[in-house]
């Protein structure tokens, strides 16, 4: 390495082309940084004023969203976002980890490879397609349940949750599988030698050892779920009220495209405000993600 550096140092002074290219590559590298700075700046510039005007407390904890009467409380949306995301992660986590165990430890290599390919495909399906499937297959099923319980039929929180489950499963499966595979084989061998069964060695040794990787998967899945908009719009019913499992809900993400087309003035500013709130939540989740990633070594790729 030291040799190459000395050569570079000699060459650098000589050629204009070299210096230009160096500068160009530096600029390319800096693009990402500039984008993040601009995004942060303009999210605050666009969303800040309405929050200042309404008041931080009234905006975040206000329970009524009624733009026509200038009531901009986004608390129901925050609660709905957290409920939908939390529910989705709670369902997807055990399923995802079990599938990861199957792929990493139990399935024969060829079958595991084929199944992994199929699950990869699941990750690539556009969110509007999930929304369409949810609206056609899932929501009518839940209509039956709502009718049976004498509730009004509508899109609902349960449908949003289940759609999000399918959308974050590939993430949780692949990250957990990587983490489980990264556990040294000796750990399990030791457990087996001590007389534990195959499953005991997996669930009492491998999974606890892969914990940090699995946590990273959860955080990554949470980030995806909380940011999803289009699939949820198509199944969630979209009323800005406090969430119930079988009632319509509107999340932070979905409020923006729903009202975008017919909003202007303060109303549009309020949508920017929702964007800022979401931005802050996502940044917080990403920070947690980076921290768990640093702590756990048994994980390498998102």
């Amino acid at each position: 390495m030291s040799e190459t550096q000395s050569i570079i140092a000699v060459r650098k002074g000589k050629s204009g082309v070299e210096r230009t290219m160096n500068l160009l590559f530096l600029l390319c590298g800096l693009t990402a940084v500039v984008c993040v700075v601009f995004m942060t700046l303009y999210m605050v510039v666009a969303g800040g004023p309405i929050i200042a005007k309404v008041g931080f407390f009234d905006f975040v904890f206000g329970r009524t969203w009624n733009p026509e009467n200038s009531q901009f409380g986004i608390f129901p949306m925050i609660v709905s976002s957290i409920a939908a995301t939390g529910g989705a992660v709670l369902i997807a986590l055990p399923c995802g980890v079990l599938v990861a165990v199957f792929l990493a430890k139990l399935a024969p290599d060829r079958i595991a490879a084929a199944l992994r390919a199929l699950i990869d495909l699941l990750a690539g399906i556009p969110s509007v397609v999930y929304g369409l499937l949810g609206a056609i297959l899932l929501v009518p099923l839940i209509f039956n349940l709502q009718t049976a319980l004498r509730l009004p039929t509508s899109g609902n929180l349960l449908a949003a949750m289940l759609i999000l489950v399918i959308m974050i499963l590939p993430t949780i499966i692949s990250v957990s599988e990587t983490a489980i595979r990264a556990v040294p084989k000796e750990y399990e061998d030791a457990a087996l030698a001590l007389g534990s069964t195959r499953l005991q060695s997996i669930f009492k040794v491998s999974i606890p050892a892969a914990k940090s990787g699995i946590v990273a998967g959860i955080v990554l899945g949470t980030g995806r779920a909380i940011g999803e908009a289009m699939a949820v719009i198509m199944v969630a019913g979209n009323a800005a009220i406090m969430p119930t499992l079988l009632g319509p809900v509107r999340l932070l993400t979905t409020s923006i495209p729903i009202e975008w087309a017919y909003s202007s003035g303060t109303h549009r500013d309020a949508l920017y405000g929702i964007g800022l709130a979401l931005f802050v939540m996502i940044m917080a989740i990403n920070t947690i993600f980076r921290k768990t990633l640093k702590k756990g070594g048994a994980f390498d790729d998102g």
Partner: protein, 292 residues
């Protein structure tokens, strides 16, 4: 190998426990469930969607008077969007990766760039939409247009391109660099004649992944590039790019939500799924070639 032997003997010696068998069953049921659901969803979309696809569907615009449906304008919009986004984002992404891997010596700067890339890949598309609208459409006065969509998408796919390129650059043996520099090649010469050709397949993988992301994208484009694709883009290229227009995904959303036309929506969904499967196979093919 010792693990294999000991495991087998342990299992045969020990009596099977009912709880253990139950757990095996649960793992199998969940795995088959997830995989079966995936297969079912894909087949369902194709079965529902393929009947809607015809030559007319693919090659004409919607005609409200004749009541025929066609998605040609949004196919054109999608192609424009993919092409121009790649023109902007590939040089930036590849260049950024080269800087990180070949030039950068300042740890703090590398940290900042990597932090920024990770952050960009974690931001949801709806926020890209809000930012793109505020920045490109309003501040830069590009209005709601294809070009605003292109610029927004360019930022979205930048992290994908940077990461894949960086990974392949890391895989190029250090001896190649030392050999070239030792023979008197300049750094730019080294990059141009050795590093870029060596990492071409990796860059292509990044490009394919980026195309997948662009084709799937709907939330951001709905805000910055607009909804309607009923008419063909008109005028010269510059005029076409400064009009609003929807890509296939946005068009699916519009048909399903504002029109309630599920047949057309499934037709578009089937096309999207076919594109996704094709891109997926292509990355697999490239990865196979890469390992050889």
């Amino acid at each position: 190998m010792t693990g294999e032997v000991s495991r087998q003997t342990v299992i045969t010696v020990k009596k099977r426990r009912p709880l253990e068998t139950l757990l095996y069953a649960v793992i199998l049921v969940v795995s088959i469930g997830v995989v079966g659901l995936t297969a079912f969803l894909i087949v369902y979309i194709l079965i529902q969607g393929i009947p809607a696809i015809s030559v007319k569907f693919l090659t004409t615009a919607e005609n409200p008077i004749l009541k025929t449906v066609g998605i040609f304008p949004s196919i054109v919009n999608t192609l424009y969007m993919v092409l121009f986004t790649l023109l902007i984002s590939v040089p930036l992404g590849v260049g950024g990766a080269i800087y990180l891997n070949e030039y950068a010596k300042n740890r703090r700067l590398v940290g900042a760039i990597e932090f920024a890339t990770e952050t960009l890949s974690g931001i949801p598309s709806i926020l890209y939409g809000v930012f793109g609208y505020v920045f490109f459409c309003v501040l830069l006065r590009l209005n709601v247009s294809l070009i605003a969509g292109v610029l927004t998408l360019s930022i979205m796919v930048l992290p994908i391109l940077m990461r894949t390129t960086q990974e392949t650059l890391k895989a190029v043996p250090q001896s190649y660099r030392e050999g070239a520099l030792g023979m008197g090649a300049t750094k730019w010469h080294l990059i141009r004649t050795i590093l870029l050709p060596c990492s071409l397949k990796g860059i292509l993988t990044g490009v394919i992944l980026s195309i997948g992301r662009m084709v799937s994208e709907s939330a951001a484009l709905l805000l910055v590039a607009g909804g309607s694709a009923m008419y063909m883009p008109r005028g010269n290229l510059f005029e076409q790019m400064s009009h609003s227009g929807s890509t296939l995904s946005v068009e699916l959303y519009r048909y399903a939500m504002s029109r309630g036309d599920n047949k057309t929506a499934f037709g578009i969904a089937a096309i999207l799924i076919i594109i996704v499967i094709a891109l997926n196979l292509l990355t697999r093919f490239l990865a196979g070639r890469l390992n050889r």
